[in-house]
C-alpha cells in the first residue's frame, strides 16, 4: 500500500503577501476599468490631491469609482471573514454569513423601508438603517433563543428558524407592496455596490471594527472549536460564551455590509473553501487571508458587473442596450456557482 501524499500547507506570510498584491491589482483594475475610459492614475492624483473644482473628467469619474472600489473591498472582506467564522462555528462547510438569518432580517428591514417610507426614518439613512436594525434585532433574537435552549445545536436551529420567519415576513411585505416597489426590492436582493462618496464605505468602519475586535480576542478559540468542542472546553475555551461572541462578531460584520450592498451571494461560502486547504484551520492566518481574497474577489466581480453589459450590448443590443451594469450579486453567483462545483468535484 502506498502512503498518501503528505498534506502541503503554504507559508501564511507568503500567501498573505500574494493575496495583498492581488488585492492591489484588483483595486487598480477596479479604478481603471468601467463603462467610461479614463486615465486612472491622473484621476486618482486629482481626487486625492486637489480641490473638487480643479478636477478634470478623469478626476470626476475616479471620484465615483474610488468609493465603489472601497465599498466592494470592505464588503467582500467582511462577508468572506464572516463566512469562515460561521463555517467553523457551525462546524459545517456549507454555512454562509446568511445561514443564521442575518440577510433575511436585513432584507425584511430594507423592504419595510421601501414599501412604507414612513417607517424608514429618513434622517437615519432610510431603508438602510431599517435593514441594519432588523439584522441586529434578529441576531439578538438568535442569541436569546439559543441561550434558553438546552440543545447543543440550539444556535443553528434558532438561526435557521428565524431565517424562515424573517423570510416569511419579507414575503408578506412584498405581498403588500406595489409593482414599482417590488422592482426596487428585487434590485436590492441582487446586491449593489453603489456608493456616491467615501462616506459610504467609511460608515461601515465602526461595524466592521467592532466585529474584527471581537474576532481578534477569540481567534484562538476558533481553532479549538473547529477541532472538537468537547476538547476545546477541556482546553480552557468557554465554549458557549465564545460561540455567542463569535456569532455577534459575524453579525456585526454582515449586518453593516448587507444593509448597504444587499445580500451578495457566494463570497462568504466560496472564499473560505478556496483557502482552507492551503492554510488549514489556524484562523489567525485563515481570517486575514479570507479578508484579502474576499475583497479582491468582490472588486473583480464588480469590474465584470460594470464592463460586461457594454461588451454584451455589442452582441445583443436588444437585451443589453438599456442597462449600464449588471447586479454584482448576479456576477458573484454566476462565477461562484461553477467554481464551487469545480472545487467539489476536484476533491471528491
Amino acid at each position: 500500500m502506498s502512503a498518501p501524499a503528505p498534506q502541503t500547507r503554504l507559508r501564511p506570510a507568503l500567501l498573505l503577501g500574494l493575496l495583498a498584491a492581488a488585492g492591489l491589482a484588483a483595486a487598480a483594475l477596479g479604478l481603471a476599468l468601467g463603462s467610461e475610459p479614463v486615465r486612472a492614475w491622473q484621476g486618482l492624483v486629482e481626487v486625492l490631491g486637489r480641490e473638487r473644482a480643479q478636477w478634470t473628467e478623469d478626476g470626476r469619474i475616479l471620484a465615483l469609482r474610488l468609493p465603489r472600489v472601497a465599498l466592494a473591498w470592505l464588503t467582500g472582506a467582511a462577508l468572506a471573514v464572516a463566512g469562515a467564522v460561521l463555517q467553523t462555528l457551525l462546524r459545517n462547510g456549507l454555512a454562509t454569513p446568511f445561514t443564521l438569518g442575518v440577510a433575511a432580517a436585513s432584507s425584511f428591514g430594507a423592504f419595510l423601508g421601501i414599501a412604507f417610507p414612513a417607517f424608514a426614518l429618513p434622517w437615519l439613512g432610510g431603508e438602510r438603517s431599517l435593514a441594519l436594525g432588523a439584522a441586529l434585532l434578529e441576531t439578538w433574537l438568535v442569541l436569546a433563543v439559543a441561550r434558553r435552549s438546552a440543545r447543543a445545536d440550539g444556535l443553528l436551529l434558532a438561526g435557521v428558524t428565524l431565517n424562515f420567519l424573517f423570510g416569511a415576513a419579507t414575503l408578506f411585505v412584498r405581498y403588500l407592496a406595489d409593482p414599482y416597489d417590488l422592482a426596487r426590492m428585487d434590485r436590492w436582493l441582487l446586491g449593489s455596490l453603489d456608493a456616491t462618496s467615501l462616506a459610504t464605505p467609511a460608515s461601515l468602519l465602526p461595524w466592521l471594527g467592532a466585529g474584527l475586535l471581537l474576532l481578534l480576542f477569540r481567534v484562538r478559540d476558533l481553532d479549538d472549536l473547529a477541532f472538537d468542542p468537547e476538547l476545546a472546553a477541556a482546553r480552557g475555551v468557554r465554549v458557549e460564551t465564545s460561540r455567542r461572541l463569535l456569532l455577534l462578531a459575524t453579525a456585526l460584520l454582515t449586518a453593516g455590509v448587507v444593509a448597504h450592498a444587499g445580500p451578495i451571494a457566494f463570497v462568504g461560502l466560496l472564499v473560505p473553501h478556496a483557502l482552507r486547504p492551503f492554510l488549514g484551520l489556524r484562523h489567525a492566518a485563515l481570517l486575514p487571508a479570507c479578508a484579502l481574497l474576499g475583497g479582491a474577489f468582490l472588486i473583480l466581480a464588480d469590474v465584470l458587473a460594470r464592463t460586461l453589459p457594454a461588451l454584451l450590448a455589442g452582441l445583443l443590443p436588444e437585451a443589453f442596450g438599456r442597462s449600464s451594469e449588471l447586479p454584482v450579486g448576479l456576477v458573484t453567483a454566476l462565477i461562484g456557482g461553477p467554481f464551487f462545483l469545480a472545487l467539489l468535484l476536484r476533491r471528491g
Partner: protein, 258 residues
C-alpha cells in the same frame, strides 16, 4: 496533591442519577483503570473530573482547591482530558491537531499565523512519545482508527498536564499498541504523572494499572489492586455470567469470555 472527587452525584437533568456517591482520589504517580458495563457512568465521571460536567452534589478538588474555582485555561495546563470520540469538522493535519494541545502548555504566542519553532518542537516530542512522528504531515482523516487514537493521545500529552484523564485511549488500537500505550502510561506514572484511564480490557488494566475501579449502575462497586478486584463473584455480578477467571501464579487472574 491530588485530583479528588467527594461524594459525587451527577445527572443530566432528567432526574435519574448517572453517578451516585462516588469518592475517589487520583494521586501523582498512580495509574488507575476505570472499568464497568456500558452506561455505568464512566465517561460522566471523567467529564466531572475534567471540569466539563458540573456535579449536582459533592465536589471535585484539584490539589485541594475546588475545580470549579480554577480558571479554565489554568485547569487545562494541569488536567489533560481525552474524550471517547473526537470529531474534527474540517481536515486537520496531525501536526496541526497536536499543536492545539501544545498551545495550551504555552508553546506559542497569542496571535500566530503559523506555529513557532518552540511549538513545532513540542509537537514532535509528543508525537515521538506515541510512536507517531512519521505521521506528522498526514491528514488526521486519512489515518487508521488506531493511528488516529495515538495522535489524539499525543495532542493531550502536548498539553504537558500533571493528570491524564483518558476515555478509552486504547480503543481501536492493535494488540501491540494497546500494551505499548499502557506501558507508556506506566512510565509516565513513574515520572510523577497521574493517569486515570477508562478501559474495557480488564487484562490490560490488571497488567499495567496500580488499581482497578469498577463502576456499576452509577456507583463505585470496587476499588483496589487488580488481584483484589478481579474476583469471580464481583465480576459476575457486574458483567454477567459469561466470563471466567483463569488463575495465574503470582499475578492477577486473566479474565476470559465463556
Amino acid at each position: 496533591m491530588a485530583l479528588a472527587a467527594e461524594n459525587l452525584r451527577a445527572d443530566y437533568g432528567e432526574g435519574s442519577p448517572v453517578l451516585e456517591g462516588v469518592d475517589l482520589a487520583l494521586e501523582p504517580g498512580r495509574f488507575l483503570a476505570l472499568a464497568g458495563p456500558n452506561g455505568a457512568g464512566k465517561s460522566t465521571l471523567l467529564r466531572c473530573l475534567a471540569g466539563l460536567h458540573l456535579p449536582q452534589a459533592g465536589r471535585v478538588l484539584l490539589d485541594g482547591r475546588p475545580l470549579a474555582a480554577i480558571p479554565p485555561r489554568r485547569r487545562a495546563r494541569i488536567l489533560g482530558y481525552l474524550p471517547q470520540e473526537v470529531g474534527p469538522a474540517f481536515p486537520f493535519t496531525v501536526a496541526e491537531a497536536v499543536a492545539l494541545g501544545a498551545r495550551v502548555a504555552g508553546h506559542g504566542r497569542w496571535f500566530e499565523t503559523r506555529p513557532g519553532r518552540e511549538c513545532r518542537e513540542a509537537v514532535r516530542r509528543a508525537l515521538e512519545q506515541v510512536d507517531a512522528l512519521d505521521l506528522e504531515e498526514r491528514l488526521l482523516g486519512e489515518l487508521s482508527g488506531g493511528e488516529r487514537r495515538r495522535v489524539l493521545v499525543a495532542s493531550v500529552l502536548a498539553q504537558e498536564p500533571r493528570y491524564l484523564l483518558l476515555d478509552e485511549p486504547a480503543a481501536m488500537l492493535d494488540l501491540h499498541h494497546q500494551a505499548w500505550l499502557f506501558s507508556l502510561f506506566r512510565r509516565f506514572c513513574r515520572e510523577g504523572l497521574a493517569v486515570l484511564c477508562v478501559t474495557h480490557d480488564l487484562n490490560l488494566a490488571a497488567t499495567f494499572a496500580d488499581e482497578i475501579l469498577i463502576l456499576d449502575r452509577h456507583i463505585l462497586r470496587a476499588r483496589g489492586a487488580p488481584a483484589e478486584v478481579l474476583r469471580e463473584e464481583l465480576l459476575h455480578e457486574v458483567f454477567g455470567e459469561r466470563l471466567e477467571l483463569l488463575p495465574r501464579p503470582g499475578r492477577a487472574p486473566a479474565v476470559l469470555p465463556r
